[in-house]
Symmetry: C2
Subunit: 292 residues, 2 copies
């Protein structure tokens, strides 16, 4: 059984990006510049955006943080987005979600020009993904593909079962794993809350991607021997065994599932650390104009 | 066993559209106008475009046929598309595929403004489909959904197996049948040329959508009793039993599969007649500005 070390792979890729930035610098090219719009100052969003800014520094990107008050009007936010769309110094940008109630997230997502949409949320980029055209892939699915690739996990002809059909993980990863490429070429079964006999379906899976958001849902009886298990869940629960009083649980009951697996991602330290790295990879692509 | 009569449903929907057009006319509204660009004069394309123009007439739409020579440059075709994009009298338009070799089909598809892309091929519209936002659905998948709806076929919690992952049928219908709506809420298995044990997978299916393009591929041993079978294939083969010397075969070996089914689409007369109707439905939506 191999534990997929997302932290290690994430650091590997970030070093590769840093090297490429050094080369760009030494040849006098433009340093990639990622901007983030942060509306309000909720704790979680501050932490996420802070992590993204720090990751930019680490690989040598420029980063630009635009702060707007929680009371900002939708119109003013859309104006700021239009400015970043036109700003030639910014290669890509994100608007940290969730947004205050007065603002339509869908309007915001569609206001970002697809060329700079390094979150990969714009319908045009989602469509390009479904059509297997070059695009910015959303962070979590992109991270999963990287892990599969770096661990050289076989996918062609394998039966991959995805649990959960969210627009940011389950649905896109089910599209990506079915593509006629590597990683891909899986027979895909997409399951969700309406699925019957999920246990039976999972027992036939070579690869299980659990993205339903229920702590320790996937127990050993769902998993056949030798399966690959990718765990997307992150649920914070109280714990008297940690300093902080909290611990993170995945969607997989790790201790009993891991011994049956050929490969498994832990939580934390599996897919989680890959998401910021995906964003950096997309920003580098934007800066090199690889997609548009 | 119920034979799904695509011709009848198609006529039903077209009558409903015709009625709506009469109402629009009598209230002084703008008559929907569908334009088609036909490059060259290959027999098949002439027939398809001719059928679309005729269908427009039948329901009371205006239609505009733009003919360009087979030798037209990509640039000149793109100019014509730009003109139609800007033409306020045209609600939607299509460029009949395939195109001559000097022209990039992908460039052409992306040049059509999503607002008028009634074929539903533009990445922005494909993405809106994947995100479950209002959009123009591509003709064949849209036709399948209509048949399921009009025959009140249950889909929630059913296991739907799609054979074939093309961008125009297999892949989009797999996305649509998984959505949290009706028709939808299926557990979806998307299979293709790399899939192993297809027979076993199909034997567990409540609904099979065969879109692989191999005449009479799906035999009785793939189908469980009571299944719903939707046949997308159309292969023309020689026949000494028809006047024309040809007959059309689906992907399903109809005679042996039909007796096992609860519902089945025949070929011809199943999904085929629905595709032009889908195009009319999309054009009506465009004219009513229901999507954009």
């Amino acid at each position: 059984m191999t534990i997929i070390d997302g932290k290690k792979i994430s650091e590997e890729i970030q070093s590769e990006i840093a090297e490429e930035v050094l080369k760009i610098k030494s040849s006098g090219g433009k340093i990639p510049n990622l901007a983030a719009i942060l509306v309000g100052n909720s704790g979680a969003s501050e932490i996420y955006v802070g992590g993204k800014v720090k990751a930019c520094e680490k690989v040598g990107f420029k980063s630009t943080l635009v702060r707007l008050p929680a009371s900002v009007s939708e119109n003013d936010l859309l104006k700021t987005i239009a400015e970043l769309n036109d700003d030639k110094d910014i290669d890509g940008f994100i608007v940290q979600l969730p947004l205050p109630k007065q603002i339509s997230e869908q309007k915001v997502i569609e206001a970002i020009t697809p060329e700079k949409d390094v979150d990969g949320f714009h319908p045009a980029n989602v469509g390009r993904m479904a059509l297997n055209l070059p695009t910015y892939l959303p962070a979590t699915p992109y991270g999963i593909l990287q892990l599969i690739e770096r661990y050289k996990i076989e996918t062609a002809g394998k039966h991959c079962v995805v649990i959960g059909r969210s627009h940011i993980v389950g649905s896109p990863i089910s599209i990506l794993m079915a593509r006629n490429t590597y990683p891909g070429n899986c027979t895909i079964t997409l399951t969700h809350s309406k699925t019957k006999n999920l246990k039976e379906i999972c027992m036939n899976a070579d690869i299980i991607i659990a993205a339903l958001g229920k702590a320790e849902f996937l127990t050993a009886e769902y998993v056949k021997h030798g399966a690959v298990v990718i765990d997307i869940g992150i649920t914070r629960v109280k714990s008297d065994k940690t300093k902080s009083g909290w611990k993170l649980l995945g969607d997989v009951k790790y201790d009993e599932v891991a011994p049956k697996c050929s490969f498994i991602t832990p939580v934390p330290g599996g897919v989680g650390p890959m998401t910021i790295t995906s964003l950096l990879m997309n920003t580098l692509k934007a800066s090199k104009k690889e997609i548009y």
